[in-house]
Amino acid sequence: MMARWIGYLRERAHIVKGVFFAFLVFAVAFDFLIHRHEPHFFGDQIIGFWSLFGLLGCLGMIIVCKGLSHVWLEREEDYHDR
């Protein structure tokens, strides 16, 4: 049953994508409305700060970590057994 629902949604990926982008718009819009109390640092005052933080943090982490892995850390699975 659960598998059928997921199969159904996978065939209609555009719906999932639409809902996802609608959620992004909602997340930023919601940040305009809320009340901010006792901010800890400057980022807490800027509307949409955490959106930028999430996106850049995620991209930065993928690029840095994957990059380090490629140029330095990556080894065959059995590296230590040889």
Partner: protein, 587 residues
């Protein structure tokens, strides 16, 4: 005496382990496996504040000391023992269950210990018992990983023991209490290093992602819960407010998650992610305010449950398909939908979605850093949260359950595994919906409210846009069949290099010395031997043999003198008398 012995929950687990073969013979092992954790879960509510005081060799041992910090850890350990045992019900080998029970007993013993000697004994019990949870996988890699695990933990135990000796030397009464940063010296920091090794604080963390992926399916579920969280408990008890812990904890949170982003094996990703999550707790201990310690305890509770849930999910996949590498998995939602459902709950709970346990626990530590004006820590921990969602919230489920269809055929996990996962998933959601249930158990009164509009907004944005980042970069995240170097290189490859050095230069030097010895030394020795031999023959033998020959000849002559004729004897006597007289007169 026997009545008071069974006050201690560890006694029940030790009894459980001891009678496991009997229970197996009687065919009631499954009942026994559920019964013992249930008894422990019930008993911890009725523990006296102090019990099990024993005087031994002049030391005051205290097996039981209960306060609010102890209780919250006891509670989650007992709950975890129950869920882990249910997950492991289908395992027929009683040895695995015995190892797991002794391991849990060790964990209870450490948590309840009121002095360092008791703590140390149970600390070592944990290390030894858990090694068997790796060895029971019975593969070559597991055997080797188990030895490394044991050696590393033995080293950590020795650091702890050295610290205890120094404490005793300095006149400390060895009661297990709080240290202050100002008064801390070698002894305290050695104890801290011993604790930090079990908490997998970099740079002494590599044993964890080395060992856990090689453990048995059910063993890994136990291991991910107890070792590191017991270490968090002892750190929180002894070292709150130590700044070094705050810094290392935040570094750890990022370090673990960075590896979780790039690793391929599902259980290794989760293991690295344990490092990251324990980083939050270690950081909370380092911040040391009442709110931070509350956050540490709350996060330890929540983390044990959802990380165990994720290890159960990855373990169930490994059990049913024989695979744990993301590069070999994909599209499993069709075959194991319930396992997927529960694991995804674990994934969103660990990321800290609203209405899950992660949302109400992790944020407490982050907020404590903010309230303490430690903004760099706050940013590092929040960034680790982004990485958590990226690696365990999206990447792991995506490449196991969805993504490219790997064509793996699998059956749904057995009922008991699903039941354990359902229980853990329930706890994740329950705590998220009713945070008061957890907050009421915490060591200090809680004034924190997780469900504020600002916190929700922050969470929505971070998740939404981290998701967007994943969506944009998904093709770069495609898993490959690789593993990444970590600091265990130093004792895995580094020791080989050392052996190489020993086999290369050291052996060469040794051979050169032997050659020199052979060519010069041997000749010299031979010449010396010849000289000694000559001296032996010509000097010593001549003297000795000469003397011997003299005695023999003398005896021969004396024999010929004994002719039996009286004249000869008289003549002889006169000659002898003359000789004596000559000697006397001349001298």
């Amino acid at each position: 005496m026997t009545a008071s012995l069974f006050v201690h929950p560890a006694s029940w687990f030790i009894l459980g382990a001891a009678l496991m073969p009997v229970a197996r013979r009687l065919g009631v092992m499954k009942v026994w496996l559920v019964l013992i954790p249930l008894i422990a879960l019930a008993r911890i509510h009725f523990l006296p504040e102090s019990f099990g005081l024993v005087e031994y060799l002049g030391f005051d041992l205290q097996f039981g000391r209960v306060d609010r910090l102890t209780f919250v850890f006891l509670h989650v350990f007992a709950l975890m023992a129950l869920m882990g045992s249910i997950f492991a019900l289908q395992v027929k080998e009683s040895g695995q269950h015995i190892a797991a029970f002794l391991y849990v007993a060790g964990s209870f013993g450490v948590t309840l210990a009121g002095d360092y000697l008791t703590l140390f004994i149970f600390w070592e019990l944990m290390a030894f018992a858990s090694t068997f949870l790796i060895w029971y996988r019975k593969k070559k890699r597991s055997i080797e990983a188990g030895y490394r695990y044991l050696l590393v933990h033995t080293a950590g135990g020795l650091a702890l023991l050295a610290g205890i000796f120094l404490l005793y030397h300095s006149g400390h009464d060895l009661s297990f209490g709080m240290f202050t940063q100002e008064g801390a010296g070698w002894a305290e920091y050695l104890v801290m290093i011993g604790f930090m090794l079990n908490a997998a604080v970099p740079p002494i963390h590599a044993w964890l992602p080395d060992a856990y992926p090689e453990a048995t399916v059910t063993g890994a579920v136990f291991m991910c819960a107890f070792t590191t969280k017991t270490a968090v408990y002892v750190l929180a008890r002894a070292f709150p407010g130590f700044e070094v812990l705050a810094i290392l904890g935040a570094v750890m949170a990022l370090y673990g998650v960075a590896y979780a982003v790039i690793e391929n094996d599902a259980r290794r990703i989760l293991a690295y992610h344990v490092v990251s999550q324990v980083g939050y707790m270690v950081c909370g201990v380092g911040i040391g305010t009442a709110m931070a310690i509350n956050g540490t305890a709350a996060h330890a509770y929540a983390h044990i449950v959802y990380k165990a849930l994720l290890f159960m999910g990855a373990g169930a996949v490994l059990e049913m398909t024989g695979r744990s590498k993301l590069s070999e998995l994909g599209g499993l939602y069709k075959h194991m939908p319930w396992t997927m459902f529960f694991t995804v709950i674990g994934g969103i709970a660990i990321s800290g979605f609203p209405l899950t346990s992660g949302f109400i626990s992790k944020s407490m530590i982050v907020a404590a850093a903010g309230n303490n004006h430690q903004i760099i820590l706050l940013v590092m921990l929040t960034l680790a949260g982004v990485g958590t969602f990226l690696s365990v919230g999206i990447k792991l489920p995506y490449f196991i359950w969805f993504g490219r269809d790997s064509g793996v055929e699998a059956k749904e996990a057995p009922w008991n595994m699903q039941l354990a996962m359902a229980m853990a998933a329930f706890v994740c959601i329950f705590l998220g919906v009713f945070p008061g249930a957890l907050y009421s158990m915490l060591p200090y009164p809680v004034e924190y409210h997780p469900y504020t509009a600002y916190h929700l907004s922050e969470t929505f944005q971070i998740f939404g846009f981290t998701g967007l980042g994943f969506y944009l970069m998904v093709k770069y995240l495609k898993p490959h069949d690789v593993s990444n170097l970590d600091l265990d290189w130093f004792y895995r490859k580094g020791s080989l290099r050392f052996l190489g050095f020993a086999a290369g230069p050291v052996v060469a030097v040794n051979e050169w010395v032997s050659n020199v010895y052979r060519t010069i030394g041997t000749r010299f020795t031979m010449a010396a031997a010849r000289a000694f031999s000559w001296f032996d023959k010509e000097g010593i033998d001549w003297t000795i043999d000469g003397a011997a020959r003299g005695v023999v000849d003398g005896g021969d002559r004396l024999r010929r003198l004994q002719t039996g004729r009286i004249q000869h004897y008289i003549g002889g006597a006169v000659v002898a008398l003359l000789a004596v007289l000559l000697v006397v007169v001349l001298i």
